[in-house]
Subunit: 283 residues, 2 copies
């Protein structure tokens, strides 16, 4: 995700200094005009706004707070924007560490995937002070389209992203159960999908993933193993705030089972295969 986002920032005319723990993307983005920061600390020393895009909470903690990290190179008045999808609790912890040095921060997770990143069409959900959000907004606009300031609290963007992943996963499970029931009951599954899209059961998931299930098209898209990670964040956030997420937990377990069976790199719509396998339908 980081590479196409960086290329869009260059295209929008921003001066860019980059670093990645793997060399490949740095070489490519440097060829397009970015400077090589050499380390996260080096990027922070040479930038007004620092953007992180990393797989998970421990990665962000290490790259921002660890040795040769962003915090070491950061100065008061600077802004650090974390666009990774991580735990809101870790977002708060990082915002506090940066804040102690006078550094501003935003959490700004995205949805829209690789395609959204390439097309500069990401949805961006932002937590942190509104004034900081407004200062960074033109930068977000170079990478995304549906950009919403969720709240002033650090982690508010991550909370919205967790909510998004809960709804998407659980709706896929709902569609998977319904279409498997239709199939095993001998109904015309395509007609059931069509009839239901005209009513109260309508959703983008029934439309797009319902079609994927009909077409047996489980090439990612968004991989089950990544969605499982995001549901883990949602469940941890629920535990921290005392919200038992029973449906989400069930879908998390189903994704765990899919991963254990070697299907973690299929698109998340392949949850239908979980319901099907329980129903005696062969993959």
């Amino acid at each position: 995700m980081g590479k196409p986002m960086a290329l869009n920032l260059l295209r929008a005319g921003y001066a860019l200094t980059v670093h990645s723990r793997s060399r490949g993307p740095v070489t490519e983005v440097a060829a397009a005009g970015a400077a090589d920061g050499g380390s996260a600390k080096g990027v922070a020393e040479r930038s007004d706004v620092v953007i992180a895009m990393l797989p998970d909470s421990p990665d962000v903690r290490q790259v921002v707070l660890g040795p040769a990290g962003v915090l070491e190179g950061a100065r008061a008045g600077q802004v650090v924007v974390d666009m990774s999808t991580i735990s809101p609790l870790v977002s708060r912890e990082i915002a506090a560490s940066l804040g102690a040095k006078g550094v501003e921060s935003l959490d700004a997770p995205v949805s829209g995937g690789q395609k959204g990143a390439i097309d500069a069409a990401l949805s961006i959900m932002v937590g942190g002070p509104r004034a900081v959000f407004e200062r960074v907004l033109p930068i977000f606009q170079a990478m995304g389209k549906n950009i919403v300031h969720i709240g002033d609290t650090p982690g508010a963007g991550q909370v919205a992203k967790a909510c998004n992943q809960i709804i998407v996963a659980t709706t896929i499970m709902a569609v998977a159960e319904a279409l498997t029931l239709a199939r095993k009951s001998g109904a015309d599954v395509a007609k059931v999908r069509q009839a239901l899209l005209g009513g109260f059961a309508q959703s983008r998931i029934l439309d797009q993933h319902g079609q994927r299930i009909l077409d047996r098209n489980f090439a990612p898209g968004f991989r089950i193993r990544l969605h499982r990670k995001d549901l883990g964040i949602a469940l941890d956030t629920g535990k921290a705030s005392g919200v038992p997420l029973m449906a989400t937990a069930l879908v998390h377990e189903a994704m765990d089972a899919m991963i254990a069976q070697g299907h973690g790199d299929l698109d998340h719509s392949a949850l239908a295969r979980f319901v099907e396998s329980l129903s005696g339908i062969e993959g």
Copy 2:
């Protein structure tokens, strides 16, 4: 539901003979021009097409197959249309009993509620032979708008309706978990809903029931006790065809708990109160 549907048939110019186990609706519809059949048998004797609209499977079994019922008054070549939401298994049983006497039948459950019935805007999902569907289509068009022939098998319409109720219920649960997590995490719930509607989590449920949850508007709408009945049908259908519906079963249990706590007559969007009560939020 039966009364406004009958009134729409009269408005469309159909000659109508009616019967109801309660007197009130018969008096009203008779005042608008319908004849009183005196019994279900009496209606069948005087009609070319017989329509049933009843609460649940045992009611349909009794009114169609029981004493002074439709079957007693029916003749070969006639069509019986059951628009109730009942078990597909019972639909098949009734179609077989009618078929043994040469009577055609369709199962044609609806969605759209009281308002859809009054506005002649019901969605109608139809199972049964296509030729019979086409014969009855003008009558359906006097009562509904999104009319889909799901399949030739008796019960196919009921299967589609069960799929609809699975998706609607489970999506409400997904939205309830997400918005409760947002609320307890201190996020701006209205902004979370708004941000998510722009992306892959979009659904009619997030839009309309998400707004209901924000507004604390739990006046029905569609009552929890009726949706619980429909999920019971879905679970029975799943058992009969070997499809374990784990997410649906969870929502069914949640609705059971709501009913036990005296909330069965709230709108089904009040599932949010179930998640909230587990999270220590007072009603």
